[in-house]
């Protein structure tokens, strides 16, 4: 457990030292100081070059984040590698969507501007991997935002450690990161096997269940690296949902899925030809446990149960991580058949790229005509977007929303499939799809 190195023993290049001493400006010195401290914390022997960064620090959590960004801006900070921005605290294209105070709005906006001034690309999305360019296999990057980290590592095979707010921008300014953890090949092998092979095929390929699978993987493996065995027919949206859920319930920054993710052509390869620390057989009852822990609404009937349940649904929130064009294509016909009832707030969070496509194809207008709000640049659990007063019930198909909505916005949550969310919004009360369980 002991990290062997301290800031004093981290091996620095001449350029690193010059930065520390202020030769690259005051902001670069602050950034390098924090990086060296963190290199010591992680026990890194040295720093390594990175080729890109994704910044989570642009989201307003309080004035301290603004204080830090202003310190960097005042010190002349500029990013030295291609750097993208995560969601901010408001929808810049639809400022009327913001339901918070004018003061909070001004501060959230200032924080976003600071990061723009440092030269970051203003894509404002928690799913930067849905835009281009994406990091290549094996490329060293410094990404923050738990779902983005897990996607970059697992699905793209890029290499980032599990970074948090602030070190992300320090890495972007200096172009350096501690040579530690998931940056290094030897730390990327799976330790825990989740064996799904005894599940019925219909469940193994059910995309709506992937957040529940991710959630139970995160709960059971904590901060170790899992490998899933027996997952079938899963696309990038499915992997995104699985990873986001696992990174919410656990500290998962990388998962492997045999035959699906790039570092797991076989189980042996994913395990680095070593023995796993633990082998977990996942059965139908485990999936039901995963589903149960995703819902908090009192008296919530078991997910996957048949028929209608007497539970009023106040809000349906989709798009954590941000909705992709393919997910909108799936949503569209469902909403046309069963538009949300007048009293139910229906919000989808996405990025500007998807929004642009919706606009071009006329789908945005159709969604709006059905009472669906499309929010960009931010999301409903990080910013005051919802108009419904807290205390009601929010339904979602996102494991990440299900995890964070109770604490962050004060709603009880019900997790369900996309179709269940739409039908529930249509009827104003929870609707369960009897077809979901084989």
């Amino acid at each position: 457990m002991a990290a062997a190195n301290t800031p004093e023993t981290v091996e620095l290049t001449e350029r690193d030292r010059a930065m520390l001493e202020g030769d690259f400006g005051e902001a670069a010195a602050v950034a390098m100081r924090i990086l060296v401290t963190m290199a010591g914390v992680y026990g890194a022997e040295r720093l390594l070059d990175i080729e890109g960064a994704h910044i989570d620090g642009c989201l307003y959590h309080g004035d301290s984040g603004v204080d830090f960004a202003e310190l960097l801006v005042a010190g002349g900070a500029r990013v030295s590698v291609p750097t993208t921005l995560n969601v901010g605290g408001l929808d810049l294209l639809h400022p009327e969507e913001f339901a918070g105070t004018a003061e909070r709005r001004a501060k959230a906006l200032r924080l976003m501007e600071c990061y723009e001034e440092m030269g970051c690309r203003t894509i404002w999305t928690c799913a930067p991997y849905q835009t281009t360019p994406r990091p290549a296999f094996g490329q060293q990057v410094a990404w923050a935002e738990s779902n983005a980290i897990v996607f970059a590592n697992s699905v793209l095979g890029a290499r980032t450690h599990r970074y948090g707010d602030f070190i992300d921008i320090c890495a972007a300014i200096t172009g350096r990161a501690p040579a530690v953890g998931l940056h290094l090949e030897e730390n990327r092998r799976a330790q825990v096997v989740f064996d799904l092979r005894s599940l019925p095929h219909a469940l193994r390929s059910a995309s709506w269940l992937l957040p529940a699978i991710g959630y139970l993987v995160g709960e059971r493996c904590g901060n170790r690296i899992p490998v899933l065995l027996g997952l079938e027919r899963v696309d990038e949206d499915g992997l995104k949902a699985l990873g986001a859920a696992a990174a919410s319930s656990g500290a998962v920054a990388l998962f492997h899925a045999v035959g699906i993710t790039p570092e797991a052509p076989t189980l042996e390869a994913a395990l680095g030809r070593a023995e796993p620390e633990e082998w977990i057989e996942v059965g139908v009852s485990d999936l039901r446990d995963g589903l149960r822990s995703l819902s908090t609404a009192p008296g919530e009937a078991e997910a996957g149960a048949a028929g209608s349940v007497e539970l009023a649904i106040d809000v349906v929130a989709l798009g954590s991580p941000h909705f992709s064009p393919r997910e909108f294509a799936e949503l569209m016909p469902l909403v046309e058949r069963h538009p949300p009832a007048g009293g139910v707030e229906f919000v989808v969070c996405t990025n500007r790229l998807s929004l642009g496509e919706l606009e071009r194809t006329g789908k945005l207008e159709q969604l709006r005509a059905h009472g669906v709000r499309v929010v960009v640049d931010t999301c409903v659990v990080v910013a005051p977007i919802l108009r419904t007063p807290a205390g009601g019930v929010l339904m979602t198909n996102s494991g990440k929303f299900a995890h964070y909505a109770p604490g962050n916005v004060g709603f009880d949550v019900v997790f369900g499939s996309l179709a269940e969310c739409v039908r529930s919004a249509h009827g104003g009360r929870l609707w369960r799809d009897p077809e979901l369980w084989p």
């Binding site: 989570d56 301290s64 948090g164 904590g222 901060n223």
Partner: protein, 140 residues
């Protein structure tokens, strides 16, 4: 139990005193702690409703959001942060929040890493003192 002295590794060094709040389950500060009050707000967490402010927070490791560093930093600004954090496993995200607090506000809770066997014996509610060296004294 009699007084105990443990040697931890100071990830972010500092001195602090406080009562131990011992979490068996990991906690994400973002979405899990309200920085305005210091209260645990993660409804799925067994210690939801308790306050981390001024406590020597003993937990295995952080989980979830990479914004937990922001929430810890905001807690330092508002005076609701734990007095110290004692981890069983290395967690860079909380140490990062503390390191930035030191840079920005010239104060931060020390973050310590303790060997698992020592971590297990820290009793809930005990008075604990953290020294700059990483030494941890638990009153008997």
């Amino acid at each position: 139990m009699s007084a105990v002295e443990l040697k931890a590794q100071a990830l972010v060094a500092g001195a602090a005193v406080g009562k131990v709040l011992r979490l068996e389950e990991p906690l994400s500060f973002w979405g899990g702690v309200d920085p305005v009050s210091g209260t645990i707000i993660d409804r799925r967490h067994p210690r939801c409703g308790e306050s981390v402010a001024g406590r020597v927070l003993v937990m295995p490791y952080g989980r979830g959001s990479s914004s937990s560093s922001s929430v810890l930093l905001e807690g330092v600004r508002l005076g609701t942060a734990p007095a110290a954090v004692v981890l069983r496993e290395l967690d860079g995200i909380l140490a990062l929040g503390a390191a930035v607090a030191r840079e920005l506000y010239e104060q931060s809770p020390p973050v310590l890493l303790l060997a698992p066997a020592d971590w297990e014996v820290l009793p809930e509610g005990a008075e604990a003192a953290v020294e700059v060296s990483g030494r941890l004294r638990i009153a008997g």
